[in-house]
Protein backbone atom coordinates (compact mmCIF):
# COMPACT_ATOMS: atom_id res chain seq x y z
CA UNK A 1 0.00 0.00 0.00
CA UNK A 2 1.44 3.30 -0.94
CA UNK A 3 1.48 5.95 1.74
CA UNK A 4 -0.50 9.06 1.10
CA UNK A 5 -2.93 7.31 -1.26
CA UNK A 6 -6.47 8.44 -0.64
CA UNK A 7 -8.47 5.47 0.60
CA UNK A 8 -11.77 6.81 1.76
CA UNK A 9 -13.69 9.86 0.82
CA UNK A 10 -16.89 10.81 2.59
CA UNK A 11 -19.03 13.51 1.07
CA UNK A 12 -22.15 15.10 2.56
CA UNK A 13 -22.91 11.98 4.58
CA UNK A 14 -26.30 12.35 6.23
CA UNK A 15 -27.62 9.66 8.57
CA UNK A 16 -31.19 9.86 9.82
CA UNK A 17 -33.26 8.10 12.45
CA UNK A 18 -37.05 8.19 12.13
CA UNK A 19 -38.80 10.20 14.84
CA UNK A 20 -42.30 11.54 14.38
CA UNK A 21 -42.71 14.24 11.76
CA UNK A 22 -39.08 15.08 11.20
CA UNK A 23 -36.27 12.54 11.17
CA UNK A 24 -33.38 13.09 13.57
CA UNK A 25 -30.11 13.68 11.80
CA UNK A 26 -27.38 11.80 13.65
CA UNK A 27 -24.93 13.00 11.03
CA UNK A 28 -25.58 16.05 8.90
CA UNK A 29 -23.49 16.57 5.77
CA UNK A 30 -20.33 15.09 7.26
CA UNK A 31 -17.37 15.16 4.91
CA UNK A 32 -13.79 13.99 5.28
CA UNK A 33 -11.17 11.90 3.63
CA UNK A 34 -8.74 9.34 4.93
CA UNK A 35 -5.34 8.62 3.48
CA UNK A 36 -3.16 5.58 3.94
CA UNK A 37 -0.82 5.71 6.88
CA UNK A 38 -2.62 8.56 8.59
CA UNK A 39 -4.98 8.84 11.52
CA UNK A 40 -8.16 10.84 11.57
CA UNK A 41 -9.88 11.64 14.86
CA UNK A 42 -13.57 12.27 15.40
CA UNK A 43 -14.15 14.00 18.70
CA UNK A 44 -17.25 15.22 20.48
CA UNK A 45 -19.51 14.60 23.46
CA UNK A 46 -21.67 11.48 23.78
CA UNK A 47 -24.44 11.43 21.22
CA UNK A 48 -22.81 13.79 18.75
CA UNK A 49 -22.98 11.22 15.97
CA UNK A 50 -19.38 10.12 15.84
CA UNK A 51 -19.98 6.41 16.46
CA UNK A 52 -22.89 6.27 14.02
CA UNK A 53 -20.73 7.94 11.41
CA UNK A 54 -18.04 5.35 12.02
CA UNK A 55 -20.44 2.44 11.75
CA UNK A 56 -21.92 3.80 8.54
CA UNK A 57 -18.54 3.29 6.90
CA UNK A 58 -19.12 -0.46 7.19
CA UNK A 59 -22.77 -0.22 6.21
CA UNK A 60 -23.75 -0.93 9.81
CA UNK A 61 -25.94 1.98 10.83
CA UNK A 62 -27.99 0.62 13.73
CA UNK A 63 -31.66 -0.06 12.91
CA UNK A 64 -33.89 1.93 12.35
CA UNK A 65 -31.41 4.54 11.15
CA UNK A 66 -30.28 4.83 7.57
CA UNK A 67 -27.97 6.78 5.35
CA UNK A 68 -30.19 9.43 3.84
CA UNK A 69 -27.73 11.04 1.51
CA UNK A 70 -24.15 11.59 0.57
CA UNK A 71 -21.41 9.31 -0.55
CA UNK A 72 -18.89 7.02 1.06
CA UNK A 73 -16.23 6.32 -1.53
CA UNK A 74 -13.88 3.49 -0.64
CA UNK A 75 -11.06 3.57 -3.18
CA UNK A 76 -13.48 4.97 -5.69
CA UNK A 77 -16.31 2.52 -4.92
CA UNK A 78 -19.53 3.89 -3.46
CA UNK A 79 -20.26 1.98 -0.26
CA UNK A 80 -23.65 3.58 0.37
CA UNK A 81 -25.02 1.81 -2.69
CA UNK A 82 -22.90 -1.30 -2.34
CA UNK A 83 -24.67 -4.67 -2.12
CA UNK A 84 -24.86 -6.47 1.17
CA UNK A 85 -22.63 -9.18 -0.26
CA UNK A 86 -19.96 -6.67 -1.20
CA UNK A 87 -20.09 -5.08 2.26
CA UNK A 88 -19.75 -8.48 3.93
CA UNK A 89 -16.75 -9.29 1.78
CA UNK A 90 -15.20 -5.97 2.67
CA UNK A 91 -15.66 -6.15 6.41
CA UNK A 92 -12.69 -7.52 8.28
CA UNK A 93 -10.66 -7.82 5.07
CA UNK A 94 -10.37 -4.26 3.84
CA UNK A 95 -11.89 -2.32 6.71
CA UNK A 96 -12.15 -3.64 10.25
CA UNK A 97 -13.09 -2.27 13.59
CA UNK A 98 -12.18 -2.37 17.27
CA UNK A 99 -14.57 -1.54 20.07
CA UNK A 100 -14.79 0.15 23.39
CA UNK A 101 -15.69 -2.50 25.90
CA UNK A 102 -12.98 -5.14 26.37
CA UNK A 103 -15.24 -7.13 28.70
CA UNK A 104 -17.72 -7.97 25.97
CA UNK A 105 -15.87 -7.67 22.66
CA UNK A 106 -14.66 -11.27 22.74
CA UNK A 107 -17.00 -14.25 22.80
CA UNK A 108 -16.90 -15.66 26.35
CA UNK A 109 -17.35 -19.30 25.32
CA UNK A 110 -14.45 -19.64 22.88
CA UNK A 111 -10.74 -19.54 23.54
CA UNK A 112 -8.56 -16.77 22.17
CA UNK A 113 -7.06 -19.30 19.76
CA UNK A 114 -10.50 -20.33 18.46
CA UNK A 115 -11.52 -16.76 17.81
CA UNK A 116 -8.29 -15.71 16.15
CA UNK A 117 -8.18 -18.94 14.17
CA UNK A 118 -11.69 -18.40 12.89
CA UNK A 119 -10.84 -14.96 11.55
CA UNK A 120 -7.58 -16.13 10.01
CA UNK A 121 -9.17 -19.12 8.32
CA UNK A 122 -12.44 -17.55 7.23
CA UNK A 123 -11.25 -14.05 6.43
CA UNK A 124 -7.60 -14.47 5.49
CA UNK A 125 -8.09 -17.93 3.95
CA UNK A 126 -5.39 -19.75 5.88
CA UNK A 127 -5.10 -23.43 6.76
CA UNK A 128 -5.39 -24.49 10.35
CA UNK A 129 -1.66 -24.80 10.89
CA UNK A 130 -0.92 -21.52 9.13
CA UNK A 131 -3.58 -19.80 11.19
CA UNK A 132 -2.07 -21.08 14.39
CA UNK A 133 1.39 -19.83 13.51
CA UNK A 134 0.02 -16.51 12.39
CA UNK A 135 -2.06 -16.17 15.58
CA UNK A 136 1.06 -16.55 17.68
CA UNK A 137 2.83 -13.94 15.55
CA UNK A 138 -0.09 -11.57 15.85
CA UNK A 139 -0.31 -11.92 19.61
CA UNK A 140 3.41 -11.27 19.83
CA UNK A 141 2.93 -8.27 17.57
CA UNK A 142 0.32 -6.73 19.88
CA UNK A 143 2.44 -7.38 22.95
CA UNK A 144 0.66 -10.30 24.58
CA UNK A 145 3.21 -12.26 26.65
CA UNK A 146 3.59 -16.05 26.19
CA UNK A 147 1.22 -16.14 23.19
CA UNK A 148 1.32 -19.94 22.85
CA UNK A 149 -0.35 -20.28 26.21
CA UNK A 150 -2.75 -17.40 25.64
CA UNK A 151 -4.22 -19.22 22.65
CA UNK A 152 -5.74 -21.73 25.02
CA UNK A 153 -7.04 -19.07 27.42
CA UNK A 154 -10.64 -17.89 27.57
CA UNK A 155 -11.36 -14.16 27.49
CA UNK A 156 -12.15 -14.04 31.20
CA UNK A 157 -8.64 -15.22 31.94
CA UNK A 158 -7.24 -11.99 30.53
CA UNK A 159 -7.22 -8.45 31.86
CA UNK A 160 -9.01 -5.64 30.06
CA UNK A 161 -5.85 -4.36 28.42
CA UNK A 162 -4.92 -7.85 27.22
CA UNK A 163 -8.36 -8.40 25.77
CA UNK A 164 -8.13 -5.12 23.94
CA UNK A 165 -4.80 -6.25 22.50
CA UNK A 166 -6.38 -9.52 21.38
CA UNK A 167 -9.25 -7.56 19.82
CA UNK A 168 -6.74 -5.47 17.89
CA UNK A 169 -4.90 -8.61 16.83
CA UNK A 170 -8.16 -10.04 15.46
CA UNK A 171 -9.01 -6.77 13.72
CA UNK A 172 -5.67 -6.60 11.94
CA UNK A 173 -5.51 -10.34 11.24
CA UNK A 174 -6.59 -10.03 7.63
CA UNK A 175 -4.40 -6.96 7.09
CA UNK A 176 -7.10 -4.36 6.47
CA UNK A 177 -6.19 -1.05 4.91
CA UNK A 178 -8.40 0.90 7.27
CA UNK A 179 -8.99 0.34 10.96
CA UNK A 180 -11.97 1.95 12.64
CA UNK A 181 -11.51 2.40 16.37
CA UNK A 182 -14.59 3.25 18.41
CA UNK A 183 -13.40 4.65 21.75
CA UNK A 184 -10.78 1.89 21.96
CA UNK A 185 -9.31 3.11 25.23
CA UNK A 186 -12.26 4.60 27.07
CA UNK A 187 -12.84 1.57 29.30
CA UNK A 188 -9.16 1.13 30.19
CA UNK A 189 -7.10 2.69 32.93
CA UNK A 190 -4.75 5.49 32.00
CA UNK A 191 -1.49 3.57 31.77
CA UNK A 192 -3.11 0.88 29.67
CA UNK A 193 -4.67 3.55 27.44
CA UNK A 194 -1.24 4.84 26.67
CA UNK A 195 0.02 1.38 25.71
CA UNK A 196 -2.96 0.60 23.49
CA UNK A 197 -2.69 3.93 21.66
CA UNK A 198 1.00 3.54 20.99
CA UNK A 199 0.34 -0.04 19.90
CA UNK A 200 -2.18 1.20 17.33
CA UNK A 201 0.32 3.72 16.01
CA UNK A 202 3.08 1.10 15.87
CA UNK A 203 0.91 -1.27 13.90
CA UNK A 204 0.06 1.61 11.61
CA UNK A 205 3.71 2.35 11.04
CA UNK A 206 4.37 -1.30 10.16
CA UNK A 207 1.44 -1.86 7.87
CA UNK A 208 0.70 1.59 6.53
CA UNK A 209 -2.99 1.22 7.29
CA UNK A 210 -5.17 4.23 7.95
CA UNK A 211 -7.00 4.69 11.24
CA UNK A 212 -10.20 6.51 12.05
CA UNK A 213 -10.33 7.01 15.79
CA UNK A 214 -13.46 8.06 17.61
CA UNK A 215 -13.14 9.44 21.11
CA UNK A 216 -14.68 11.91 23.48
CA UNK A 217 -11.26 12.44 24.99
CA UNK A 218 -9.47 15.32 23.34
CA UNK A 219 -6.22 14.25 24.99
CA UNK A 220 -6.35 10.87 23.25
CA UNK A 221 -7.09 12.55 19.93
CA UNK A 222 -4.33 15.11 20.36
CA UNK A 223 -1.62 12.55 20.91
CA UNK A 224 -2.65 10.06 18.24
CA UNK A 225 -4.26 11.82 15.32
CA UNK A 226 -2.91 13.65 12.31
CA UNK A 227 -6.24 15.28 11.53
CA UNK A 228 -9.17 16.09 13.78
CA UNK A 229 -12.86 16.65 13.19
CA UNK A 230 -14.88 18.18 16.00
CA UNK A 231 -18.51 17.07 15.88
CA UNK A 232 -21.52 18.44 17.68
CA UNK A 233 -25.13 17.29 17.22
CA UNK A 234 -24.21 15.49 14.02
CA UNK A 235 -22.54 18.56 12.47
CA UNK A 236 -18.89 19.21 11.86
CA UNK A 237 -17.97 22.36 13.73
CA UNK A 238 -14.25 22.38 13.14
CA UNK A 239 -11.76 20.36 11.16
CA UNK A 240 -8.05 20.59 10.60
CA UNK A 241 -4.61 19.18 11.27
CA UNK A 242 -4.43 18.06 14.87
CA UNK A 243 -1.67 20.43 16.05
CA UNK A 244 -3.39 23.42 14.51
CA UNK A 245 -6.76 22.59 16.03
CA UNK A 246 -5.29 21.91 19.44
CA UNK A 247 -3.02 24.93 19.50
CA UNK A 248 -5.34 27.48 17.96
CA UNK A 249 -8.92 26.27 18.09
CA UNK A 250 -11.20 28.44 15.98
CA UNK A 251 -14.67 27.34 17.08
CA UNK A 252 -16.00 28.29 20.55
CA UNK A 253 -17.04 24.64 21.09
CA UNK A 254 -13.52 23.35 20.48
CA UNK A 255 -12.17 26.01 22.79
CA UNK A 256 -14.67 24.92 25.41
CA UNK A 257 -13.62 21.27 25.03
CA UNK A 258 -9.96 22.18 25.45
CA UNK A 259 -10.68 24.32 28.50
CA UNK A 260 -12.77 21.52 29.98
CA UNK A 261 -9.81 19.14 29.95
CA UNK A 262 -8.53 18.66 33.48
CA UNK A 263 -4.81 19.39 33.63
CA UNK A 264 -2.23 17.74 35.83
CA UNK A 265 -0.60 21.06 36.57
CA UNK A 266 -1.16 21.33 40.31
CA UNK A 267 -0.03 24.93 40.56
CA UNK A 268 -2.45 25.65 37.69
CA UNK A 269 -4.29 28.90 38.15
CA UNK A 270 -6.53 27.77 35.29
CA UNK A 271 -9.04 25.25 36.66
CA UNK A 272 -10.85 23.01 34.23
CA UNK A 273 -13.93 24.84 33.03
CA UNK A 274 -16.78 22.61 31.95
CA UNK A 275 -19.01 23.75 29.10
CA UNK A 276 -22.29 24.82 30.67
CA UNK A 277 -25.54 23.10 29.73
CA UNK A 278 -26.27 19.62 28.41
CA UNK A 279 -25.26 17.80 25.25
CA UNK A 280 -27.73 18.70 22.53
CA UNK A 281 -31.12 17.11 22.10
CA UNK A 282 -31.30 16.19 18.42
CA UNK A 283 -35.08 16.55 18.45
CA UNK A 284 -34.96 20.18 19.57
CA UNK A 285 -32.08 21.87 17.81
CA UNK A 286 -32.19 25.63 17.36
CA UNK A 287 -32.07 27.00 13.82
CA UNK A 288 -28.59 27.84 12.62
CA UNK A 289 -25.66 26.89 14.79
CA UNK A 290 -26.55 23.96 17.10
CA UNK A 291 -24.11 25.10 19.77
CA UNK A 292 -25.62 28.53 20.39
CA UNK A 293 -27.63 27.71 23.56
CA UNK A 294 -24.36 26.83 25.33
CA UNK A 295 -22.07 29.29 23.61
CA UNK A 296 -20.58 32.22 25.52
CA UNK A 297 -20.28 34.21 22.30
CA UNK A 298 -23.83 33.52 21.07
CA UNK A 299 -25.60 36.36 19.35
CA UNK A 300 -28.85 36.72 17.36
CA UNK A 301 -27.10 36.18 14.00
CA UNK A 302 -26.19 32.65 15.11
CA UNK A 303 -29.69 31.45 14.22
CA UNK A 304 -29.18 32.54 10.62
CA UNK A 305 -25.76 31.12 9.76
CA UNK A 306 -25.30 28.00 7.66
CA UNK A 307 -23.37 25.40 9.63
CA UNK A 308 -20.64 24.80 7.08
CA UNK A 309 -16.90 24.81 7.43
CA UNK A 310 -15.01 27.65 5.81
CA UNK A 311 -12.13 25.36 4.97
CA UNK A 312 -11.40 21.61 4.69
CA UNK A 313 -9.29 19.26 6.80
CA UNK A 314 -6.07 20.64 5.36
CA UNK A 315 -7.12 24.26 5.64
CA UNK A 316 -8.40 24.19 9.23
CA UNK A 317 -12.05 25.07 8.75
CA UNK A 318 -14.50 26.32 11.34
CA UNK A 319 -18.26 26.66 11.25
CA UNK A 320 -18.32 29.81 13.36
CA UNK A 321 -17.93 33.07 11.49
CA UNK A 322 -17.98 35.21 14.63
CA UNK A 323 -15.54 33.72 17.13
CA UNK A 324 -12.40 35.26 15.70
CA UNK A 325 -13.87 38.73 15.43
CA UNK A 326 -15.13 38.52 19.02
CA UNK A 327 -11.88 37.27 20.47
Amino acid sequence: MQAGAELLEVRDLTIAFPAGEKPLLAADRVAFSVTAGRTLGLVGESGCGKSVTLRSLLGMVPYPGEVLGGEIRWRGEDLVRASRRRLTALRGREISMVFQDPTSCLNPVFTIGDQMGETLRKRAGMSKAQARRRAVELLERVGVPSPERRLRAYPHHLSGGMRQRVMIAIAIAAEPQLLLADEPTTALDVTTQEQILSLLLEVQRDTGMAIVLVSHDLGVIAETCDEVIVMYAGRMLEAGLAPAVMRSPRHPYTRGLIKAMPSLDVSGDVPAAPIPGQPPNLAALPPGCPFQPRCALARPDCAAIPVTLDGDLMAHGSACPFAEAAA
Binding site: T88, R91, S96, V109, F110, R123, Y154, S159, M162
Partner: protein
Amino acid sequence: MSAGAIPAVAQSAATRLRKRARAERLWSSFTLWLGVGIVAFIAFVSFAAPLLGFHNPNEQHLLDALQPPSRAHPFGTDALGRDILTRVVYGGRIDLTFAFVTTIIPFALGVLLGCWAGYRGGWLDTVVNRLVDIVVAFPFIVLILAIVTITGPGLKGAYIGVFAVGWALYARLTRGEMLVEREKEYILAARTLGYSPRRIVMRHALPNVLRASIVFSMADVVLNILLLSSLSYLGLGAIPPSPEWGALVADGKDLILTAWWVATLPGLAIVVTGVAFSLIGDGLADRLGRDFTLTTGGEADAGGR
Protein backbone atom coordinates in the same frame (compact mmCIF):
# COMPACT_ATOMS: atom_id res chain seq x y z
CA MET B 1 -0.87 -18.12 42.36
CA SER B 2 1.80 -18.82 44.94
CA ALA B 3 0.93 -19.14 48.61
CA GLY B 4 3.79 -16.79 49.46
CA ALA B 5 1.85 -13.86 47.99
CA ILE B 6 -0.61 -13.96 50.90
CA PRO B 7 0.61 -12.44 54.19
CA ALA B 8 0.91 -14.90 57.05
CA VAL B 9 -1.91 -13.31 59.07
CA ALA B 10 -4.33 -13.97 56.23
CA GLN B 11 -3.26 -17.58 55.77
CA SER B 12 -5.98 -19.03 58.00
CA ALA B 13 -8.61 -16.88 56.30
CA ALA B 14 -7.33 -17.92 52.90
CA THR B 15 -7.45 -21.56 53.88
CA ARG B 16 -10.99 -21.14 55.15
CA LEU B 17 -12.09 -19.46 51.92
CA ARG B 18 -10.46 -22.14 49.86
CA LYS B 19 -12.22 -24.82 51.89
CA ARG B 20 -15.54 -23.07 51.46
CA ALA B 21 -15.07 -22.77 47.70
CA ARG B 22 -14.21 -26.45 47.56
CA ALA B 23 -17.18 -27.44 49.69
CA GLU B 24 -19.55 -25.48 47.45
CA ARG B 25 -18.09 -26.98 44.34
CA LEU B 26 -18.33 -30.47 45.78
CA TRP B 27 -21.92 -29.94 46.83
CA SER B 28 -23.05 -28.79 43.40
CA SER B 29 -21.16 -31.69 41.83
CA PHE B 30 -22.75 -34.00 44.33
CA THR B 31 -26.33 -33.03 43.46
CA LEU B 32 -25.50 -33.12 39.77
CA TRP B 33 -23.85 -36.54 39.83
CA LEU B 34 -26.40 -38.04 42.21
CA GLY B 35 -29.12 -37.02 39.72
CA VAL B 36 -27.15 -38.33 36.79
CA GLY B 37 -26.48 -41.57 38.69
CA ILE B 38 -30.14 -42.20 39.50
CA VAL B 39 -31.29 -41.43 35.96
CA ALA B 40 -28.55 -43.62 34.51
CA PHE B 41 -29.50 -46.44 36.85
CA ILE B 42 -33.20 -46.26 35.95
CA ALA B 43 -32.42 -46.02 32.25
CA PHE B 44 -30.01 -48.94 32.42
CA VAL B 45 -32.40 -51.19 34.31
CA SER B 46 -35.28 -50.33 31.94
CA PHE B 47 -33.45 -50.85 28.71
CA ALA B 48 -31.39 -53.84 29.83
CA ALA B 49 -34.41 -55.46 31.52
CA PRO B 50 -34.33 -58.87 29.75
CA LEU B 51 -30.62 -59.20 30.60
CA LEU B 52 -31.37 -58.56 34.25
CA GLY B 53 -33.96 -61.32 34.41
CA PHE B 54 -37.12 -59.27 33.91
CA HIS B 55 -39.37 -60.97 31.41
CA ASN B 56 -42.77 -60.36 29.90
CA PRO B 57 -44.44 -57.52 31.88
CA ASN B 58 -47.88 -58.72 30.78
CA GLU B 59 -47.52 -62.31 32.00
CA GLN B 60 -50.50 -63.13 34.21
CA HIS B 61 -50.59 -65.51 37.14
CA LEU B 62 -54.17 -65.20 38.26
CA LEU B 63 -53.61 -67.44 41.28
CA ASP B 64 -50.96 -64.99 42.56
CA ALA B 65 -53.17 -61.88 42.22
CA LEU B 66 -52.68 -58.97 44.64
CA GLN B 67 -49.74 -60.42 46.51
CA PRO B 68 -48.11 -57.85 48.81
CA PRO B 69 -44.38 -57.14 48.32
CA SER B 70 -42.33 -60.22 49.05
CA ARG B 71 -39.02 -61.75 48.11
CA ALA B 72 -40.49 -63.26 44.93
CA HIS B 73 -42.34 -60.06 43.97
CA PRO B 74 -40.47 -57.09 45.56
CA PHE B 75 -43.20 -54.66 44.44
CA GLY B 76 -46.05 -57.16 44.84
CA THR B 77 -48.49 -58.23 42.14
CA ASP B 78 -51.57 -56.58 40.66
CA ALA B 79 -55.15 -57.75 40.24
CA LEU B 80 -54.17 -60.01 37.33
CA GLY B 81 -51.17 -61.43 39.16
CA ARG B 82 -48.62 -59.52 37.07
CA ASP B 83 -45.32 -58.68 38.77
CA ILE B 84 -45.41 -54.95 39.44
CA LEU B 85 -41.62 -54.49 39.54
CA THR B 86 -41.34 -56.01 36.07
CA ARG B 87 -44.09 -53.71 34.85
CA VAL B 88 -42.42 -50.66 36.40
CA VAL B 89 -39.12 -51.64 34.81
CA TYR B 90 -40.65 -52.00 31.35
CA GLY B 91 -42.75 -48.89 31.92
CA GLY B 92 -39.50 -46.99 32.35
CA ARG B 93 -38.77 -47.59 28.67
CA ILE B 94 -41.99 -45.89 27.65
CA ASP B 95 -41.71 -42.99 30.09
CA LEU B 96 -38.01 -42.25 29.64
CA THR B 97 -38.25 -42.42 25.86
CA PHE B 98 -41.25 -40.15 25.93
CA ALA B 99 -39.56 -37.71 28.30
CA PHE B 100 -36.36 -37.63 26.26
CA VAL B 101 -37.98 -37.23 22.86
CA THR B 102 -40.58 -34.71 23.98
CA THR B 103 -37.88 -32.59 25.59
CA ILE B 104 -35.13 -32.69 23.01
CA ILE B 105 -37.23 -31.98 19.93
CA PRO B 106 -39.16 -29.00 21.33
CA PHE B 107 -35.86 -27.82 22.84
CA ALA B 108 -34.13 -27.78 19.46
CA LEU B 109 -37.10 -26.28 17.66
CA GLY B 110 -37.79 -23.62 20.29
CA VAL B 111 -34.17 -22.59 20.69
CA LEU B 112 -33.73 -22.23 16.94
CA LEU B 113 -36.89 -20.19 16.51
CA GLY B 114 -36.10 -18.06 19.55
CA CYS B 115 -32.55 -17.42 18.38
CA TRP B 116 -33.54 -16.20 14.97
CA ALA B 117 -36.58 -14.28 16.19
CA GLY B 118 -34.44 -12.49 18.75
CA TYR B 119 -31.57 -11.80 16.40
CA ARG B 120 -33.51 -10.82 13.30
CA GLY B 121 -36.43 -9.04 14.96
CA GLY B 122 -39.01 -7.65 12.55
CA TRP B 123 -41.79 -9.83 11.13
CA LEU B 124 -40.14 -13.10 12.16
CA ASP B 125 -40.05 -11.95 15.78
CA THR B 126 -43.68 -10.83 15.61
CA VAL B 127 -44.87 -14.13 14.12
CA VAL B 128 -42.93 -16.26 16.59
CA ASN B 129 -44.09 -14.18 19.53
CA ARG B 130 -47.75 -14.34 18.58
CA LEU B 131 -47.48 -18.11 18.06
CA VAL B 132 -45.94 -18.44 21.52
CA ASP B 133 -48.75 -16.34 22.98
CA ILE B 134 -51.38 -18.54 21.35
CA VAL B 135 -49.73 -21.77 22.45
CA VAL B 136 -49.19 -20.59 26.02
CA ALA B 137 -52.72 -19.23 26.35
CA PHE B 138 -54.41 -22.35 24.92
CA PRO B 139 -55.63 -24.84 27.57
CA PHE B 140 -53.38 -27.82 27.10
CA ILE B 141 -55.79 -30.56 28.15
CA VAL B 142 -58.38 -29.30 25.67
CA LEU B 143 -55.74 -29.38 22.96
CA ILE B 144 -54.79 -32.94 23.88
CA LEU B 145 -58.46 -34.00 23.87
CA ALA B 146 -58.81 -32.51 20.41
CA ILE B 147 -55.70 -34.29 19.17
CA VAL B 148 -56.70 -37.60 20.75
CA THR B 149 -60.11 -37.45 19.06
CA ILE B 150 -58.23 -37.27 15.77
CA THR B 151 -55.46 -39.79 16.44
CA GLY B 152 -57.36 -42.09 18.75
CA PRO B 153 -56.01 -42.95 22.22
CA GLY B 154 -52.38 -43.99 22.54
CA LEU B 155 -49.00 -42.40 22.86
CA LYS B 156 -49.21 -40.78 19.42
CA GLY B 157 -51.64 -38.12 20.59
CA ALA B 158 -49.50 -37.31 23.60
CA TYR B 159 -46.37 -36.98 21.45
CA ILE B 160 -48.08 -34.70 18.94
CA GLY B 161 -49.60 -32.60 21.70
CA VAL B 162 -46.29 -32.00 23.45
CA PHE B 163 -44.47 -31.24 20.19
CA ALA B 164 -47.13 -28.69 19.37
CA VAL B 165 -46.80 -26.92 22.70
CA GLY B 166 -43.38 -27.63 24.24
CA TRP B 167 -41.29 -25.45 21.93
CA ALA B 168 -43.02 -22.24 22.99
CA LEU B 169 -41.32 -21.72 26.34
CA TYR B 170 -37.89 -22.50 24.89
CA ALA B 171 -38.51 -20.01 22.12
CA ARG B 172 -39.52 -17.33 24.58
CA LEU B 173 -36.55 -17.99 26.90
CA THR B 174 -34.03 -18.03 24.07
CA ARG B 175 -35.47 -14.97 22.39
CA GLY B 176 -35.13 -13.02 25.64
CA GLU B 177 -31.51 -14.10 26.06
CA MET B 178 -30.78 -13.29 22.43
CA LEU B 179 -32.16 -9.76 22.76
CA VAL B 180 -29.53 -9.16 25.44
CA GLU B 181 -26.77 -11.03 23.68
CA ARG B 182 -27.13 -9.45 20.25
CA GLU B 183 -26.32 -6.02 21.71
CA LYS B 184 -23.00 -7.24 23.07
CA GLU B 185 -19.90 -6.08 21.33
CA TYR B 186 -18.65 -9.50 20.36
CA ILE B 187 -21.68 -9.90 18.12
CA LEU B 188 -21.05 -6.47 16.65
CA ALA B 189 -17.39 -7.42 16.28
CA ALA B 190 -18.36 -10.62 14.48
CA ARG B 191 -20.42 -8.52 12.07
CA THR B 192 -17.56 -6.09 11.44
CA LEU B 193 -15.41 -9.11 10.60
CA GLY B 194 -17.83 -9.93 7.80
CA TYR B 195 -19.23 -13.19 9.19
CA SER B 196 -22.56 -14.31 7.77
CA PRO B 197 -25.68 -14.01 9.93
CA ARG B 198 -25.87 -17.79 10.01
CA ARG B 199 -22.36 -18.06 11.40
CA ILE B 200 -23.02 -15.28 13.91
CA VAL B 201 -26.25 -16.78 15.23
CA MET B 202 -25.42 -20.47 15.11
CA ARG B 203 -21.79 -20.37 16.14
CA HIS B 204 -21.22 -17.18 18.08
CA ALA B 205 -24.51 -16.38 19.79
CA LEU B 206 -26.08 -19.82 20.27
CA PRO B 207 -23.70 -21.16 22.95
CA ASN B 208 -24.27 -17.97 24.92
CA VAL B 209 -28.06 -18.15 24.93
CA LEU B 210 -28.47 -21.85 25.77
CA ARG B 211 -27.91 -21.59 29.50
CA ALA B 212 -31.47 -20.85 30.62
CA SER B 213 -32.96 -23.37 28.22
CA ILE B 214 -30.68 -26.17 29.36
CA VAL B 215 -31.60 -25.62 32.99
CA PHE B 216 -35.28 -25.37 32.11
CA SER B 217 -35.12 -28.54 30.02
CA MET B 218 -34.36 -30.58 33.14
CA ALA B 219 -37.57 -29.30 34.74
CA ASP B 220 -39.29 -29.93 31.43
CA VAL B 221 -38.26 -33.60 31.43
CA VAL B 222 -39.97 -34.01 34.79
CA LEU B 223 -43.06 -32.16 33.61
CA ASN B 224 -43.25 -34.35 30.53
CA ILE B 225 -43.06 -37.56 32.56
CA LEU B 226 -45.81 -36.25 34.83
CA LEU B 227 -47.78 -35.19 31.80
CA LEU B 228 -47.67 -38.61 30.18
CA SER B 229 -48.58 -40.20 33.51
CA SER B 230 -51.49 -37.84 33.95
CA LEU B 231 -52.73 -38.42 30.43
CA SER B 232 -52.50 -42.19 30.87
CA TYR B 233 -54.24 -41.91 34.22
CA LEU B 234 -57.05 -40.07 32.43
CA GLY B 235 -57.08 -42.74 29.74
CA LEU B 236 -55.76 -40.39 27.07
CA GLY B 237 -52.21 -41.69 26.94
CA ALA B 238 -50.89 -45.22 26.97
CA ILE B 239 -53.57 -47.87 26.54
CA PRO B 240 -53.72 -51.08 28.60
CA PRO B 241 -51.98 -53.40 28.96
CA SER B 242 -49.09 -51.01 28.36
CA PRO B 243 -47.09 -50.75 31.61
CA GLU B 244 -46.71 -46.97 31.41
CA TRP B 245 -46.20 -45.58 34.93
CA GLY B 246 -49.29 -43.38 34.98
CA ALA B 247 -51.37 -46.27 33.68
CA LEU B 248 -50.01 -48.47 36.48
CA VAL B 249 -51.05 -45.87 39.04
CA ALA B 250 -54.49 -45.68 37.42
CA ASP B 251 -54.78 -49.49 37.57
CA GLY B 252 -54.26 -49.44 41.31
CA LYS B 253 -56.37 -46.46 42.21
CA ASP B 254 -59.46 -48.51 43.17
CA LEU B 255 -57.37 -50.86 45.26
CA ILE B 256 -55.50 -48.20 47.22
CA LEU B 257 -57.16 -49.21 50.51
CA THR B 258 -56.84 -52.96 50.08
CA ALA B 259 -53.60 -53.29 48.06
CA TRP B 260 -51.63 -50.07 48.51
CA TRP B 261 -48.60 -51.29 46.57
CA VAL B 262 -50.37 -51.50 43.22
CA ALA B 263 -50.65 -47.70 42.84
CA THR B 264 -47.99 -46.50 45.28
CA LEU B 265 -44.86 -48.25 44.06
CA PRO B 266 -45.20 -47.20 40.39
CA GLY B 267 -45.97 -43.71 41.74
CA LEU B 268 -42.71 -43.87 43.65
CA ALA B 269 -40.87 -44.60 40.41
CA ILE B 270 -42.30 -41.38 38.97
CA VAL B 271 -41.25 -39.42 42.06
CA VAL B 272 -37.70 -40.79 42.13
CA THR B 273 -37.19 -40.07 38.43
CA GLY B 274 -38.60 -36.58 38.84
CA VAL B 275 -36.35 -35.81 41.80
CA ALA B 276 -33.32 -37.15 39.94
CA PHE B 277 -33.91 -34.84 36.97
CA SER B 278 -34.49 -31.92 39.35
CA LEU B 279 -31.13 -32.65 40.99
CA ILE B 280 -29.46 -32.56 37.59
CA GLY B 281 -31.23 -29.27 36.88
CA ASP B 282 -30.05 -27.73 40.16
CA GLY B 283 -26.51 -28.92 39.68
CA LEU B 284 -26.43 -27.54 36.14
CA ALA B 285 -27.93 -24.23 37.24
CA ASP B 286 -25.19 -23.92 39.83
CA ARG B 287 -22.48 -24.68 37.34
CA LEU B 288 -23.72 -22.72 34.38
CA GLY B 289 -24.77 -19.72 36.42
CA ARG B 290 -21.29 -19.27 37.72
CA ASP B 291 -18.30 -17.82 35.97
CA PHE B 292 -16.26 -20.68 34.59
CA THR B 293 -13.18 -19.51 36.50
CA LEU B 294 -13.84 -21.74 39.49
CA THR B 295 -13.59 -24.88 37.45
CA THR B 296 -10.58 -23.91 35.39
CA GLY B 297 -8.62 -21.99 38.04
CA GLY B 298 -4.98 -21.09 37.92
CA GLU B 299 -5.07 -19.00 34.76
CA ALA B 300 -7.28 -16.28 36.14
CA ASP B 301 -4.45 -14.05 37.26
CA ALA B 302 -2.06 -14.84 34.43
CA GLY B 303 -1.21 -12.22 31.86
CA GLY B 304 -2.89 -9.39 33.71
CA ARG B 305 -1.43 -6.01 33.30
